[in-house]
């Protein structure tokens, strides 16, 4: 399966095994979603289980919260992560705090799916990576897969979670892995081991990172599309780096991160979102606090620039493998 099919399969599994599961959003029903993630679900499970909504992100999430409070498990789609902001009040002031403020009387087990990230000439409003905005909000979890296998397992886990979860899908990876070498032929997921996705129910626990590549000289922290960029950048650099796919932004698998940096003594953080105030800043602070005496070199952050996501400058903005390789060589200078 490609990532779209894997996500579709996760929704299909949950719609089939739990009548509390509902799937809705803009163009999600009959049409099957602008990225085809919900294709065929309405025909198979009925219009009441998978349906179209008005073009209103605030309304979509408010409705999902109300349904969650009632006892359902809504899976709401926001068409692009760039358009999640009209629902920011619902997510921050309501979904994230409901359990806390009500003394545990009410909660909203909702999942918010949204395609995110760049590398597709999406310009300013089809490329953003807003995960840091949500990482700063207590009470919600944020998950970002990098492979079809993880996408399905993490999405099923998110839907079954009793806390609200934001599930960002790297749209650049929907049809195939992308390592940032935009001048090379496109690849598909076909034949890759991460694309071997079981048909039925399985879960990948939230809050558990994956060590994608073991290494001894430096640790690279990445998620989403950047996991594939990191593989290429590590290969280009010749540095024996350990690559960690965080998979969950919140809760963060702090143990896997610190164990790796304590072993390697060097850390490079890679994300598409702009640098200042980005999630990398939190990662860097945590690594510094917990691994200070093992660090052989300052922590490096390779990120999008502190500009809106541009159109014509896609590959000048996008943190590709060459930039990671340079950062790896830089941290290796101090030995």
């Amino acid at each position: 399966m490609n990532m779209i099919q894997a996500l579709n399969s996760a929704l299909d599994v949950k719609l089939a095994d739990d009548p509390r599961t509902l799937v809705f959003g803009e163009d999600v029903g009959y049409f099957g979603g602008v990225f085809r993630v919900t294709e065929g679900l309405q025909a198979k499970h009925g219009t009441k289980r998978c349906f179209d909504t008005p073009l209103s992100e605030g309304g979509i999430i408010a409705t999902a919260i109300g349904m969650g409070v009632y006892g359902l498990r809504p899976v709401a789609e926001i068409q692009f992560a760039d358009y999640i902001l009209p629902a920011f009040d619902q997510i921050v002031s309501e979904a994230a705090r409901l359990r806390y403020r009500s003394g545990g009387e009410f909660w909203a087990p909702i999942t918010i799916r949204s395609p995110y990230g760049g590398g597709i000439f999406g310009g300013q409003t089809h490329s953003q990576s807003p995960e840091a905005l949500f990482a700063h909000v207590v009470g919600i979890k944020t998950v970002i897969p990098s492979t079809p296998y993880d996408a399905k397992g993490l999405l099923i886990a998110a839907i079954e979670e009793d806390d609200p979860v934001i599930f960002f899908e790297p749209k650049r990876l929907y049809n195939g892995p992308f390592d940032g070498r935009h001048d090379q032929a496109l690849r598909t997921w076909a034949g890759l081991p991460e694309a071997e996705v079981p048909e039925g129910h399985y879960k990948i626990p939230l809050g558990k990172a994956a060590v994608v590549r073991e290494g001894a000289e430096a640790t690279v922290l990445a998620y989403g599309t950047m996991v594939h960029v990191a593989k290429a950048g590590i290969a280009d650099s010749g540095v024996d780096a350990e690559l960690i796919d965080l998979r969950s932004i919140v809760p963060l698998d702090i143990e896997t991160v610190t164990a790796s940096v304590q072993k390697t003594g060097r850390c490079v953080i890679l994300h598409e979102a702009s640098r200042f105030g980005g999630y990398g800043a939190e990662l860097s602070a945590l690594v510094q606090e917990r691994c200070f005496w093992m660090l052989k070199s300052p922590i490096e952050r390779v990120c999008g620039w502190d500009t809106p996501y541009p159109h014509a400058f896609e590959w000048d903005y996008f943190p590709g493998p060459a930039r990671l390789a340079r950062a790896l060589l830089k941290v290796m200078e101090n030995s």
């Binding site: 509902l22 009441k48 909504t53 008005p54 209103s56 605030g58 309304g59 408010a62 409705t63 999902a64 919260i65 109300g66 349904m67 969650g68 409070v69 009632y70 006892g71 359902l72 809504p74 009209p86 009040d89 619902q90 002031s93 309501e94 705090r97 409901l98 359990r99 806390y100 403020r101 009500s102 003394g103 545990g104 009387e105 009410f106 909660w107 207590v138 009470g139 979890k141 009793d162 806390d163 809050g207 919140v250 809760p251 702090i254």
Partner: protein, 405 residues
């Protein structure tokens, strides 16, 4: 040709401090009641209702009279009086430093009380901070309510919430929050979930007239209309949003009930100080919702007699005696007078009831104060870290340890 210069219009209330109170900008005929169509009537035949006023008390032979049994009206009166006494007491408790903050619903007691009684116990209300009467009408324990106000060791919300922002699941009362309007759509989602599940329960959502300007109001009405959600959407138009008169929310051009028209849902404009009219309109809308005929928007026309909160001084922006000139009177007095005139109540019994309620309240306050008023007692600090997630993640665990608990 020279074009005339444009000119920006800024609405101003009809009266400011020092002026004579005026309500002539409100269009309704005090002597007449809106007609009462059968609740099965299609919305297309109801479009005059948002411009009329549903009234019972003071209108001879109003079709909206719910013909309630005297004991039901007496129960309503009791809950309204209890609400007023409760609020007066805790407004004073703020001056005494026993609570950090408080909000009254003086003049609006009939709305929460009548709707609380008219709906089923299993229906769900998504309240504002000004319908405390809902809880009192359903017999929420006074002491527990006061513990919340005091944020003391027995506060059901564990000291996490501002006073008045209650949560009472077992009483059909959804968790309150300070941000405006964001729960209006939750009522719609909850109602949709009930319909999806083949349940028979309906939802009631509240906003004030000021909050109708929030995007969340539009979102909720759109979703309610599109999916025919079994929900009653209530706007309590008390004429004031803190210092801002209702005209700034749009009241100079139309009624809030009339906002329903563009969404294709019925809109009722109801005398919000008329216990019987509120009851009747609520049952009418509930009948529609329970029969899968979808949502109803109800504007309750009322007046915020008290300041916005303990932090507000209304004499700085409106005539001091404005409330005394409010044409729809006082909801408590109107129901009481009706009961007395009908021979179901007496001034003596009223006095006796007030004395009983006063004692009950004093006892409950005393019991809560034994636990502690604000600052004298608080829940264990470990409660600060609970319920962020269902199960705490490492951050919460570590930070608890950092605080030494």
């Amino acid at each position: 040709m020279k074009k005339p210069p444009l000119s920006l219009y800024i609405p101003q209330p009809p009266a400011r401090p020092g002026d004579k109170a005026r309500f002539d900008h409100l269009s309704f005929d005090l002597g007449a009641a809106a007609r009462m169509p059968d609740w099965r009537t299609p919305e297309t035949e109801l479009r005059d209702l948002p411009y009329g006023l549903v009234r019972v008390l003071g209108v001879e032979g109003s079709a909206w009279d719910p013909h309630l049994a005297p004991e039901v009206m007496r129960k309503g009166l009791r809950a309204m009086v209890q609400t007023r006494l409760f609020e007066d007491r805790f407004f004073r408790a703020h001056r005494q430093g026993k609570v950090s903050f408080f909000m009254k619903s003086t003049g609006e007691e009939a709305i929460g009380v009548a709707q609380s009684m008219a709906l089923e116990p299993s229906d769900m209300c998504f309240p504002t901070y000004r319908v405390q009467g809902w809880l009192l009408a359903r017999g929420y324990p006074l002491e527990k309510m006061i513990n919340q106000l005091y944020s003391n060791e027995r506060d059901p919300l564990h000291g996490r919430q501002l006073p008045v922002l209650y949560s009472a699941r077992d009483y059909g009362f959804y968790s309150l929050s300070g941000n405006l309007g964001s729960r209006f759509g939750h009522a719609v989602g909850w109602a949709m979930a009930s319909a999806y599940s083949g349940d028979t329960r309906i939802a009631l959502g509240y906003v004030g007239e000021g909050t109708t300007a929030e995007g969340a109001f539009h979102e909720a009405l759109t979703f309610a209309s599109v999916y025919r959600a079994p929900v009653i959407l209530a706007v309590t138009n008390n004429q004031w949003a803190i210092s801002t008169f209702a005209g700034v929310a749009g009241a100079e051009r139309t009624t809030f009930a009339a906002k329903a028209l563009a969404y294709g849902i019925p809109g009722l404009r109801v005398d919000g100080n008329d216990f019987l009219a509120i009851w009747s309109a609520t049952c009418w809308a509930a009948s529609r919702a329970r029969a899968n005929l979808g949502p109803t928007l109800i504007e309750f026309v009322t007046y915020r007699v008290a300041g916005h909160s303990t932090s507000d001084d209304p004499t700085r922006y409106r005539p001091k005696d404005e409330g005394e000139h409010w044409p729809l009177g006082d909801p408590v007095e109107r129901l009481k007078d009706h009961l007395i005139a009908a021979g179901h109540w007496t001034a003596e019994r009223q006095e006796q009831m007030e004395a009983e309620l006063f004692d009950e309240l004093r006892e409950a306050q005393k019991a809560a104060e034994m636990v502690g008023s604000f600052g004298k007692s608080k829940p264990p600090v470990s409660e600060m870290f609970n319920d962020v997630f269902k199960d705490p993640d490492w951050r919460v665990t570590e930070q608890r340890r950092e605080l030494g608990i």
